[in-house]
Every structure is written in structure tokens, then in C-alpha cells.
């Protein structure tokens, strides 16, 4: 990662990462609203997942964290993917029961 900071693409990577953070944040807000409106925990899981993905964007761009923690920030991504899988499996299971 250290060599990537001196890469000519580093500016674009950082710029686009900020845009991705905002998109994930907006998606989390939408899903949170859907969860409030419908009471369906499927949307709550998705809101949580996109919140984690947004936080992961912040943590991976923090220079101090990048040096000290490195790949551990990607565990936030894994947690988000786990939430998505739980949401879909839970939804399918409930649909079968009904």
C-alpha cells in the first residue's frame, strides 16, 4: 500500500473512495427509512451492512490506520457481507414458512 500512495493513481483512488463512502452512506439512510416504514428486518440488515461499508471506506483511507492496522480494516467489509448473506437467507426462510 505504501507504494500505491506514490502512484499517479493515488489521487483518483482517494477521490473515488470518498464518493463511494457517500454513496454507501446514502444507501444506508434509504434502507434505514425502508426499515422504519415497513418494519421488515431485511432492510435493517441492509442498513447495517452499508453503514459498515461506509465506515470501512473511512478507516481504509486514514493514513495512521493504514500503516498500523492494514488489512484488518477489511474485516469491516467481511462483517457487511455476512450481514447481507444473513438478510437474504433469513428473508428466504421466512418466505418459505409463509
Amino acid at each position: 500500500m505504501g507504494s500505491q500512495m506514490s502512484s499517479p493513481w493515488a489521487f483518483w483512488a482517494t477521490f473515488l473512495s470518498g464518493a463511494v463512502f457517500f454513496a454507501f452512506f446514502v444507501a444506508a439512510l434509504f434502507f434505514r427509512k425502508f426499515a422504519q416504514r415497513t418494519g421488515d428486518r431485511f432492510f435493517s440488515f441492509f442498513a447495517g451492512a452499508f453503514t459498515l461499508l461506509a465506515l470501512e471506506r473511512i478507516s481504509s483511507q486514514m493514513a495512521a490506520v493504514r500503516e498500523a492496522v492494514g488489512p484488518a480494516t477489511y474485516l469491516l467489509r467481511l462483517a457487511a457481507f455476512a450481514l447481507i448473506m444473513i438478510a437474504v437467507i433469513d428473508k428466504n426462510r421466512r418466505a418459505r414458512v409463509e
Partner: protein
């Protein structure tokens, strides 16, 4: 250790994309479609992450391409969410 984390991210995101695509196949809805597109792009991002940080050397930098894949996916999802509301 780092390589395992990146590989697990790639496999996890591919699994999410697969589950969402299957859910869309069973009960088509526009929101599910755009969510599946989002996670397909995120799967691409995570595969590129593994390739960038494990397979290729430091002379090749795929970070901007990775972020672009994420942005495409996130943008598709936000578009789908706005379509759902409006």
C-alpha cells in the same frame, strides 16, 4: 494472513452477489436487481483487491480501478433506491 482476508472478502462478495441474483431470479423486483448489480460490482472490486495486493507487484497499482468498480456498484444501488421512492 492479509492474503486470506482479501481472498475471504472476494469469496464473500461473490457469495452475496450470487444470493442476490438468485433472489432476483425467483422474485423479480427492480430494487433487488439494482442491489444485485451493486454487489456484482463489489465482487469485481474485491477480486481486483486480491489481484492488486497479492498477485501483482507494487509496480502495478489497481487502486483507482478498484474504487471505480465500487463507485459503479454504489451508484447503481443509489439509482435503484431513488427509483423505488420516486
Amino acid at each position: 494472513m492479509a492474503a486470506w482476508i482479501y481472498l475471504t472478502c472476494a469469496l464473500g462478495s461473490i457469495a452475496c452477489a450470487g444470493l442476490l441474483i438468485r433472489s432476483y431470479w425467483r422474485s423479480p423486483s427492480k430494487l433487488l436487481l439494482w442491489t444485485a448489480v451493486c454487489f456484482a460490482c463489489l465482487a469485481g472490486n474485491n477480486v481486483l483487491l486480491y489481484v492488486d495486493l497479492v498477485v501483482t507487484g507494487p509496480e502495478i497499482d489497481l487502486s483507482a480501478l478498484r474504487q471505480l468498480a465500487s463507485l459503479l456498484g454504489a451508484s447503481a444501488l443509489v439509482y435503484g433506491l431513488i427509483e423505488e421512492v420516486v
